[in-house]
């Protein structure tokens, strides 16, 4: 997508082109500024971070990061990684066959099924939270990372089904049918025709599912305690301390956001495909 060439239409736009390009830069800088500010503050001492007006040239230090890691965030980061990665794997394992049954060899009323999946995204999660809590409480499943893995799977499954179906529907069925007549051809067709279409779809779906699971707060906050606590819950919990804490909060926010930032920057085009449920390719 980003590689697509856009032709500047009309002759007049060339004159204002310089101005509009500059405007785009200003808007981009304004949007990224809070994050840059957070990054800079995270490297300041607490005393410098609390100065007003701010001191941009203050000496840089790792003290904020050190005091964040001293509060013991690793178990919650490990929990977040476990919940996000395992639920993403589960989502793909469930979504791929479902998407196949909705595109390549579609069941009857496949559009109804597809919209059923999307409609579950519209059920506000708070409406199902209480029964899940009561159930988990009665079977001793509270504060268990597997509960989050199952819930995150259900949260992301509709997105993945929609996306993968959208990609699979581009597979030329005629070639598949012709190839399935003799087996040797089938494997080659799968590798040379199907895989190039499907692999990017799986990558986009996995990226989006990982990001949404990593970010989730409400379920994690209500259903976990000290054992299965995730990184976002940990973040909300440690601002209560007295005294200056801005540099520490900024450092913590950077660390917790880092996996999403890296994944998102590395796969910007996949991000668009994923966010639009595969409608945009």
């Amino acid at each position: 997508m980003s590689g697509q060439v856009t032709i500047v239409t009309g002759k007049k736009s060339r004159g204002g082109g310089f101005f509009l390009g500059g405007l785009a830069w200003i808007v981009g800088i304004l949007f990224v500024l809070p994050v840059v500010w957070m990054l800079l503050t995270s490297f300041h001492t607490e005393e410098d971070a609390a100065k007003n007006p701010p001191d941009l040239g203050a000496p840089l230090t790792l003290a904020g990061y050190k005091s964040f890691f001293d509060t013991g965030p690793w178990p919650s980061i490990a929990n977040s990684l476990t919940a996000s990665i395992l639920s993403t794997v589960l989502v793909i394992l469930l979504a791929f066959p479902a998407a196949y049954a909705l595109s390549i060899r579609p069941v009857k009323k496949w559009t109804d099924v597809l919209f059923f999946f999307l409609s579950t995204k519209m059920l506000p999660v708070v409406a199902g939270l209480l029964p899940i809590y009561l159930f988990a409480q009665s079977v001793g499943f509270l504060d268990n990372i597997w509960l989050l893995i199952i819930l995150y799977t259900s949260m992301n499954l509709p997105i993945a089904v929609w996306m993968l179906r959208s990609f699979l529907s581009e597979v030329p069925v005629e070639i598949l049918e012709a190839a399935s007549v003799d087996g040797a051809n089938l494997i080659r067709t799968l590798r040379s025709v199907v895989a190039p279409i499907v692999t990017p779809g799986i990558a986009s779906a996995a990226l989006i599912c990982f990001i949404f699971s990593w970010n989730e707060l409400l379920f994690a906050r209500v259903l976990t305690g000290t054992v299965a606590q995730t990184a976002p819950v940990f973040l909300t919990g440690f601002v209560t301390s007295q005294g200056l804490f801005l540099a520490k909060v900024c450092a913590a926010s950077i660390v917790v956001s880092l996996p999403v930032l890296i994944a998102g920057f590395a796969a910007q085009d996949k991000l668009v495909q994923g966010l639009s449920l595969g409608a945009v390719k």
């Binding site: 856009t6 082109g17 469930l94 049954a101 559009t111 409609s119 519209m122 409406a127 926010s253 945009v280």
Partner: protein
């Protein structure tokens, strides 16, 4: 909850069994072979998302507060009456509407303007695009903490720091969150959701048939006419898709309300109110009734929205 959408002819052709597999038994096994791969996902979704909601409906008709376990029993429509006549709930409904509409509309407008800027060729376009999507990649809780403490804070936040830079020591130092609690939340969310809208709309802009637009330019249509009569109609379905997806997420927002104001200063939206009724007050019956009301409201809006978005995917599948 399903929405009728016409299956396209290609798929219905595929769904009929191929010639040679006559006989109901054959067809039946064929149907199940088709359904097989779908069932794990479908059964999983029904158990995890639909079953709890059925329980919610049952509990919504019960008198059930965890602090008074002896008084558990049937309550009829009592919970619904209490929820709907409660001033706090009514206010929460209003806050939810304002928050969702405000965030979605503002991010759509900003997203469209920025997408138009980024649709042009200029030096460093890739870099600007990367800068633009950064807000969306900050974990929502971290973003809320950033706005609350590093930007809005009256004594050491960046906003008041900039005011001091500009106007010296006598500069006004407003307490942003206390003065405008709801708008503080809306702006923090608009900052995060504008990149989302921008990405989808930019993709829409780049899928325009450029030859037609060039021809219109040669025929003497000016920039505004091209935008109004060609670009905007083409973008319509992308605007609808981004508005629908944005609404799905923003209407359920919990992170920003929880972090920035903890639901105080009149900013508690429905998700936060239900969370509080259930998690702090332990009034299960009432929380469930509020949940049922939210779902009914969402279904009404979502049915309308789904109808419009289904046209986008029908066109896409009809290719």
């Amino acid at each position: 909850m399903s929405v009728e959408a016409k299956p396209d002819t290609k798929a219905s052709r595929r769904a009929t069994p191929p010639p040679g597999s006559e006989g109901t038994l054959m067809r039946r096994t064929g149907d199940w072979a088709r359904r097989g791969p779908l069932l794990p996902a479908l059964v999983f979704m029904i158990i995890v998302t639909q079953l709890p909601f059925v329980v919610t409906i049952v509990v919504s008709f019960m008198d059930w507060n965890a602090y008074y376990p002896d008084e558990r029993g049937f309550a009829g429509i009592d919970n619904f009456r209490r929820v709907l006549t409660d001033a706090n709930t009514r206010h929460a409904i209003w806050v939810t509407v304002v928050l969702t509409a405000g965030v979605v509309l503002l991010s759509l407008v900003f997203g469209l303007l920025i997408a138009l800027l980024l649709d042009r060729k200029f030096r460093g376009r890739g870099a600007v695009r990367t800068m633009m999507i950064t807000p969306f990649l900050v974990v929502p809780v971290a973003a809320a903490l950033l706005w609350k403490h590093a930007l809005y804070n009256p004594t050491y936040g960046l906003f008041n720091g900039v005011l001091k830079w500009l106007f010296g020591d006598n500069a006004p130092q407003p307490d942003w969150i206390s003065n405008q609690p709801l708008w503080s939340i809306i702006f923090a969310l608009v900052w995060q959701w504008t990149p989302f809208m921008m990405l989808i709309l930019l993709a829409g802009l780049q899928s325009r048939p450029l030859d037609v637009i060039e021809a219109a330019g040669i025929d003497g249509a000016n920039q505004w006419e091209i935008f109004r009569y060609m670009t905007l109609p083409h973008l319509r379905q992308y605007l609808e898709l981004s508005a629908l997806l944005g609404s799905i997420y923003v209407v359920q927002n919990f992170d920003a309300v929880f972090t920035i104001t903890s639901g105080g200063l009149g900013t508690a939206n429905l998700p936060y109110t239900i969370y509080q009724t259930f998690y702090t007050a332990h009034d299960y019956g009432r929380a469930s009734a509020a949940g049922v009301i939210v779902v009914i409201g969402t279904i009404a809006i979502a049915t309308l929205a789904l109808r419009s978005v289904s046209t986008l995917f029908r066109e896409e599948t009809g290719r």
